[in-house]
Every structure is written in C-alpha cells, then in structure tokens.
C-alpha cells in the first residue's frame, strides 16, 4: 500500500497539475468569450514538445531542469493529499519549505547556463518575487506552527479536524487573510505573472527551453501550481480526510486563482514586492503577534 502511494501520489499530482493547466486555459478562454482549447491541450503540447529536437546549452542546462522537476515531485510525497502522504514521517513543514527551493533553484541554474539576457531578467524577477511572498508566507507558516505547536504538516491537518479550518479559527484569522492575499503571487498568476511575461522578456527563464526542456518546464509549472494550491488547502482549509473532497477544495482555490488571473493586469516587479511587503506582510505579522499573545 505504502509503495503504491509512493509511486502514485506524484503521478496523481502531475495529472491534477496538468489538468489544472488545461482547465485554466479553457476557463480563461470562456471568460474572454472564446471557445478555448480542449482540456487535454497541455498533454498534446507535451507530446509534441517531447518529439522536438531542441538545443542544449550544456550539462547544467539539462541537470538543473531535471533537478527542478524532481524536487517538485518529491514535495508531493510530503504533502498530504487527503490522507495520502507517504513520506510525512520523514520530515515536516520545514522540509517542505526547503524542498520548495529546489524547483526555482534548479530552473535558475539551468536557464542561467543559457546565457540569455531575458532568462537572467526572468530569474532575477523570480527570485525577487519569491523573496516578496516568502516574507508574509513564512510569517503565516510560523503562526500556524506556533499555534499548533508542531512542525508536521499532517499533524496540522489532523488538528484542524478538531478545531475547524485554521482560516476561520480565532487566532489564525489574520494569517489566513494574509495567505489569501499572497496566494496569486505564490501561484504565479496575474497580477504577479512577472516572471514569464512573454510579451516583455520572451517568457523569461523559459526563453531557451524548447522540445523536451519545455515539456519538463511545463510539468514543473503544473506541479508548482498543484503544490501551491494543495499547501493552501492543507494549511488553511483543513485538508481533507478524503481525496475527493480534497480535490474539490483544491478546485475552489483554483477557480479563485483563475478569476484573479483573468481580471487583473500585470504589475511591475517593484510594485509587486511593494504590495507583498506592505499589506500581506503587515497582516501576517499582526497574525503572528496575535498567535503569540493568545497562544499558551
């Protein structure tokens, strides 16, 4: 059973991630009064990309991307999906926080190797944006960990089963609001789509990726989408005992994200950081203080 979970939870995550990508395109098209591609379109793209012979810029160009996707895959082993969390006893929230670094770092090394100015700009923006949302995010996570006095994410989930969703329990309300405010930035949707910005910097870090590279990058993107949503559901919306309910919760968050994506224009990077470091950070800080004061 354990082995099956180990193998299939990353695959499930990939599947849901890719599904979300396709759904996102469909939903966006519908919002824009278009017919839109089929939901399977990302899959078609990936098949096509895998068959193309792309240019490679060197070993780090390959390894970095592989590392990035592998890192994201490993996170899914630690994140509870419903009750499926095959490696949750090998490390808790701190491990997840650090594993979340591998993705961007691998991507950064890989696209850095390509020596493309656009990629450099994209990576710089990516790191800056991460710096922007990590500040409130860490405050939120610390508030959660302090309130539940554990660093294990499965325990946080199971404790919410007793107390109700963290977002709606008293000392964590502010943290929940802050998390909600930074969620678009963590998912990388507009108005925080500064990293790829195809019109501006030729899709940023992805500029030199073609063929299989782009396939990996797409999968990584899908996984990052999955992880962002799943983390939010687990931490704030009480997770779920049942994978189906969990998926439904994820779907709700997903739609929230897409709606935001559909109606906002893109911010500049400095505007994004300024936003992220102002209101969400202040609220998250207040939330942490609240937790410290009220918690025993």
């Amino acid at each position: 059973m354990h082995i099956i979970e180990l193998i299939f939870s990353p695959l499930l995550a990939l599947l849901i991630g890719v599904f979300f990508l396709g759904l996102a395109r469909k939903v966006m098209a519908r919002i824009q009064w278009r017919y839109g591609p089929p939901v399977t379109q990302p899959l078609i793209d990936i098949i096509r990309l895998l068959s193309q012979k792309s240019a490679s810029h060197g070993v780090a160009f390959n390894i970095g991307l592989v590392m990035s996707l592998a890192g994201s895959l490993v996170i899914t082993l630690f994140l509870p999906f419903g009750k499926i969390a095959p490696m949750s006893n090998s490390g808790g929230m701190l491990v997840i926080l650090y594993l979340m670094l591998i993705g961007p770092l691998g991507m950064a090394i890989s696209s850095g190797e390509s020596a493309n100015p656009n990629a450099s700009i994209g990576i710089s923006r990516k790191l800056l944006l991460a710096m922007g949302y990590e500040l409130p995010f860490l405050l939120v996570v610390l508030a959660l960990m302090t309130a539940y006095n554990t660093t294990s994410i499965t325990e946080i989930v199971s404790l919410q089963r007793d107390t109700g969703w963290s977002m709606f329990t008293f000392p964590l309300v502010l943290s929940g609001i802050a998390y909600l405010l930074i969620l678009p930035a963590m998912l990388g949707v507009r108005p925080f789509e500064v990293v790829n910005a195809p019109q501006e910097i030729s899709s940023g870090p992805l500029v030199e990726y073609g063929g299989p590279y782009l396939a990996l990058a797409t999968l990584q993107h899908a996984l990052a989408f999955f992880i962002g949503i799943s983390l939010f559901v687990n931490l704030m919306w009480g997770g779920a005992a049942n994978p189906v309910i969990f998926f439904l919760k994820m779907l709700v968050v997903f739609f929230l994200g897409i709606f935001v994506n559909a109606v906002f224009p893109r911010l500049r990077i400095d505007q994004a950081i300024r936003y992220l470091w102002r209101w969400p950070s202040l609220i998250a800080f207040a939330g942490l203080i609240l937790v410290c004061v009220t918690g025993s």
Partner: protein
C-alpha cells in the same frame, strides 16, 4: 479535423500532436501585424485548434512570416528559423514574402523568401484575411499528415545552397554554419 479520433492518436501520437499543438512564432512587418491579432482573439480564436503565439522560436513549431521582408529583417528571420527545434514548419503570409508584392522593384526588399529559408506553405493575398490563415493551417495539417511539410529536411540537405544564397545577399553572416557545408572540407 481529426483531433477527436482516438485511433489516430494511438497510431501516431507524435504526428497528431504536431498537428494540434502548433505554437507559432510570428514575424510581422507592415500590414502583416494587422491581420494576426484577430485570428488569435475572441472573433476567430485560433487557440481552439491549439495554435497559440509563443515568445521565442525555441518553443515554437510554426513560423509565420507576415509582411514584406527587408534585407535587414531577413537576417533575423534566418536566425530565428535556425533556432527553432525540428520538426518545424514555415508559412509565408501575403504576397510580399512570396514574390515581393507591391515592393517588387524595391532595392532592399527581398522578393522570394523561399530562396533563403524553406517555406512549407504560402498564403497569398494583400493582405489575406484571418479566414485565409485558417485555410492555410488546415492545408498545413494535410501536409503534416502526408509528411510533405518537410521544409526543415530540405533546409538541411540543401544547406550549402541556402547559405550561399543568404551570404550572397547579406554578406558574411556572423554566426557559423548550422550544418557542415559540402565541398568545403
């Protein structure tokens, strides 16, 4: 359109994927740029066929050259074409890249794009409407189906000739030859 025929997908997924995931890099000059946006926005919505614009040739599989091609831009066109991963398809849009169009006697506009890079399909008109683009794409599907959209193969096998043409009109190119040129060694 055979996108929903699962049997074909199982028979030859790669070819099918190539047909229905055409990521386009546009090269637009003059009136070319006017006709592209309608085709990808709500009115005609190219995305329903999997056709979306991308920002870099590395990610693309289709290259649409719309509008006249001056000497200066030819250089970029060649560069961009060579950077696209194979298999790749080229479509020239409008009369100008086909035969010079209204610039037939201009001193710095090239008249026949296919002398410099291989072109798989040409959509005539001045300017062709979006519908024509769609017709062109369906023709391209047919060509892909029949393995006749083989411009990239022609480019490779006749590289020395293409390169000679390019250098004849542009002078010495700053990048090294993509494929070994016959007769040099």
């Amino acid at each position: 359109m055979d996108r929903n025929q699962l049997k074909k997908w199982f028979q030859n997924p790669v070819k099918m994927a190539h047909k229905y995931s055409l990521h386009v890099v546009y090269f637009c000059t003059g009136c070319g740029i006017i006709e592209i946006p309608p085709s990808i926005t709500a009115r005609w919505d190219a995305e329903r066929f999997g056709i979306i614009p991308v920002a870099t040739p590395r990610q693309a599989s289709l290259f649409i050259i719309a509008g006249y091609v001056s000497l200066k831009t030819l250089r970029s066109i060649i560069r961009t074409y060579e950077q696209m991963p194979e298999p790749k398809f080229t479509v020239s849009l409008g009369s100008c890249p086909i035969n010079g169009g209204m610039y037939y006697d201009s001193y710095n506009t090239i008249k026949h794009l296919e002398k410099y890079i291989p072109v798989d399909g040409m959509i005539a008109g001045c300017m062709p409407r979006p519908e024509a683009i769609f017709v062109g794409v369906t023709h391209l599907w047919t060509l892909i189906d029949k393995d006749m959209a083989d411009g990239y193969k022609r480019y490779r096998s006749n590289y020395s000739a293409y390169r000679a043409n390019q250098e004849k009109i542009l002078g010495k190119l700053e990048w090294p030859p993509l494929f070994p040129i016959h007769g040099e060694e």
